[in-house]
């Protein structure tokens, strides 16, 4: 797979083999924290460290700030979903320049939710990336690294 920055600031992703197309299509579903409390808390952390006043501050945050964050995350994911609409094996994925921020945000949502849902530790992140994916944990770890690679390419190209 190759990611190249075009003259107009867009990014072109080529060399899309089937496994990578599947992982790209999995970006949006991977953003969903579902009922997993750890994943939900990671997307919507409390603004203050633990304590009595933190509880009150957290309630206000959940009531007033969290809905805005939910809307922002959903909007970013919708942009990425649109860009992935015609994705196919052997095709070209184009990320318009004005969509880069949405891609960075959505890829990060996916990485953080996957890490929380599958208990990905710092130690696991530092291990060499395995391409033999024998269980859900290995698949999630690969996704986190793969989405991180895409983020890195987008950031360096900015």
């Amino acid at each position: 797979m190759e990611i190249a920055r075009l003259e107009d600031g867009a990014f072109s992703v080529t060399g899309l083999e089937e496994p990578l197309v599947d992982f790209l299509k999995a970006i949006i579903p991977s953003c969903d924290p579902g009922e997993h409390p750890g994943a939900h808390d990671r997307l919507y952390p409390s603004p203050q460290p633990h304590g009595a006043t933190a509880e009150a501050a957290g309630e206000d945050w959940r009531e007033y700030v969290q809905p805005e964050l939910e809307h922002l995350f959903a909007s970013a994911a919708a942009i990425v979903k649109g860009d992935l609409k015609d994705l196919r094996v052997g095709g070209v994925l184009t990320i318009p320049a004005q969509h880069v921020d949405a891609w960075l945000n959505t890829l990060n949502q996916a990485r953080l939710v996957l890490a929380a849902r599958f208990d990905i530790t710092e130690e696991a992140m530092e291990r060499p990336i395995s391409t033999i994916l024998s269980n859900e944990h290995e698949i999630a770890l690969f996704q986190i690294h793969f989405y991180g690679f895409i983020q890195e390419c987008l950031i360096r190209g900015e």
């Binding site: 919507y44 603004p47 501050a57 964050l69 990485r111 950031i155 900015e158």
Partner: protein, 90 residues
């Protein structure tokens, strides 16, 4: 005759500032964290990188200090970019 002079001192205690603290998360890319510090705070690449390295090496960094309302706004923006950030009274 003695005069008694009375000197009145008025001390105004300023509100203690609030710190915007970013905490380490092993998932976030260092390049991403640096980018967000530049975007949210307008920091130079050097300053943003220094804060990012402090988060990475020490687990946390104070990115900004000041009035509570602005600190809350910064924390909200950092949360919008999926960084772990909290407000702390200095």
């Amino acid at each position: 005759m003695t005069e008694t002079l009375t000197k009145t001192e008025t001390r105004t205690e300023l509100d203690l500032p609030w710190n915007v603290v970013v905490h380490n998360d092993p998932i976030n890319l260092m390049s991403y964290v640096t980018l967000i510090f530049k975007k949210v705070f307008g920091y130079s690449t050097q300053k943003a990188t220094e804060h990012m390295m402090e988060v990475h090496q020490k687990g946390r960094s104070i990115l900004w200090s000041g009035a509570r309302e602005r600190a809350e706004l910064y924390v909200q923006q950092l949360h919008a970019h999926l960084l772990l950030a909290t407000l702390e009274r200095e």
